[in-house]
Point group: C2
Chain length 216, copies 2
């Protein structure tokens, strides 16, 4: 049905220092307590609760007018530095509900990683520093990790109709890899011993959407 | 048809100084001569040819693996400063072949404008400075203009299946507004006297794709 009005052009100004964005249409924040169950060291998590329970670990400001196919959403995410035990702070992570939708992240401040897992359980890790654009291709579960000593700030952009499935990670007992302090001011990857492979039916349901074109 | 291989995650590093991007899959450059017919002052354009013919006015580095619906393309564009007569350097401009596809631009260096025109001929102008994200909504013809004294560098991102129609502007005798020097180190908008409105059939063909959702 034709409309008489178009969407008006907009400008959103990124505040790299605070990790916010002017003109955002949405905002959410994740407190430490919201992240229960994500970290390997549950004792360390419980021990931190006294100080950290209500503190915001990461927050997201986004601009998204609608969920129509073909449109774009974008925004800024900011994550505090820190560790639970020896595991660096991370986001919940997700795969898109439409799993063939990609996402791009653009580093603005701090040192981060994009931790990605395929439906089959293959892991990829990409460093995100300022001026690095990470292309998370279709079908990859993804989560960001702050491996630096200050805030991690990134821009992101994804197709408006992507949707987010945050449960896919919990259903496998977490992502297959954890990112921990290497004891030498860096990070290393360790295996998540609680990780369970997705079953054949789950993989097939995701994979049936792979198209011939995806490999081009 | 299922594939055995996923697309591999990638990182592209933006070089703000040169306006390039590592890891790009494509690149193109527009020389001064390629921009014949875009500027109002054709005499000034001809007079500049001696010095400028082969010089690159703007160039684009992009990352685009495929044109599948739902995927994303992104890149970096760099435009030199300059004027033809009193009119600031600009890009050819386009509407998307799928006109309901938007685009976002993120200023990295310099002072630019996004000059936008609706099918009906309404003009919007948004300033793009570093840290400003401009959302060009569906159905807007758009072109960027360098109103600064140095390079204009921006990131961009658009749906991979957008396509570009560069001819829509030429068919109307240019965009309705031109951006010229205001004589006081700034810019002003003037009317393009050669501009012709799109006819009702052309507007209807674009508008038939507006959906109820577009206004939400």
């Amino acid at each position: 049905m034709p409309l008489n009005t178009l969407i008006e052009p907009t400008v959103c100004v990124v505040d790299v220092s605070s990790g916010g964005m002017g003109g955002a249409t949405g905002h959410y924040a994740k407190k430490f307590d919201d992240l229960a169950g994500l970290y390997g060291d549950t004792e360390a998590f419980e021990a931190m609760r006294g100080d950290w329970s209500e503190r915001i670990v990461y927050d997201v400001s986004d601009f998204r007018l609608r969920s129509a196919p073909g449109d774009l959403a974008f925004g800024v995410t900011r994550m505090s530095p820190g560790k639970v035990g020896n595991e660096f702070f991370l986001t919940r992570g997700h795969i898109h509900k439409q799993p063939d939708r990609p996402e791009i992240y653009y580093g603005q401040k701090g040192s981060g990683l994009m931790l990605m897992e395929s439906p089959e359980g293959d892991i990829r890790i990409v460093a995100i520093e300022p001026l690095a654009v990470c292309y998370v291709p279709p079908y990859w579960i993804h989560r960001s990790v702050n491996v630096g000593s200050g805030d991690l700030v990134m821009l992101f952009c994804y197709p408006s109709d992507s949707g987010q499935d945050y449960e896919i990670i919990a259903r496998s007992g977490g992502m297959r890899a954890r990112i921990v302090d290497d004891g030498a001011n860096g990070w290393k990857r360790v295996e998540n011993t609680l990780w369970r492979p997705r079953d054949a039916a789950t993989i097939a349901a995701l994979r049936q959407q792979y198209s011939d074109e995806a490999g081009r």
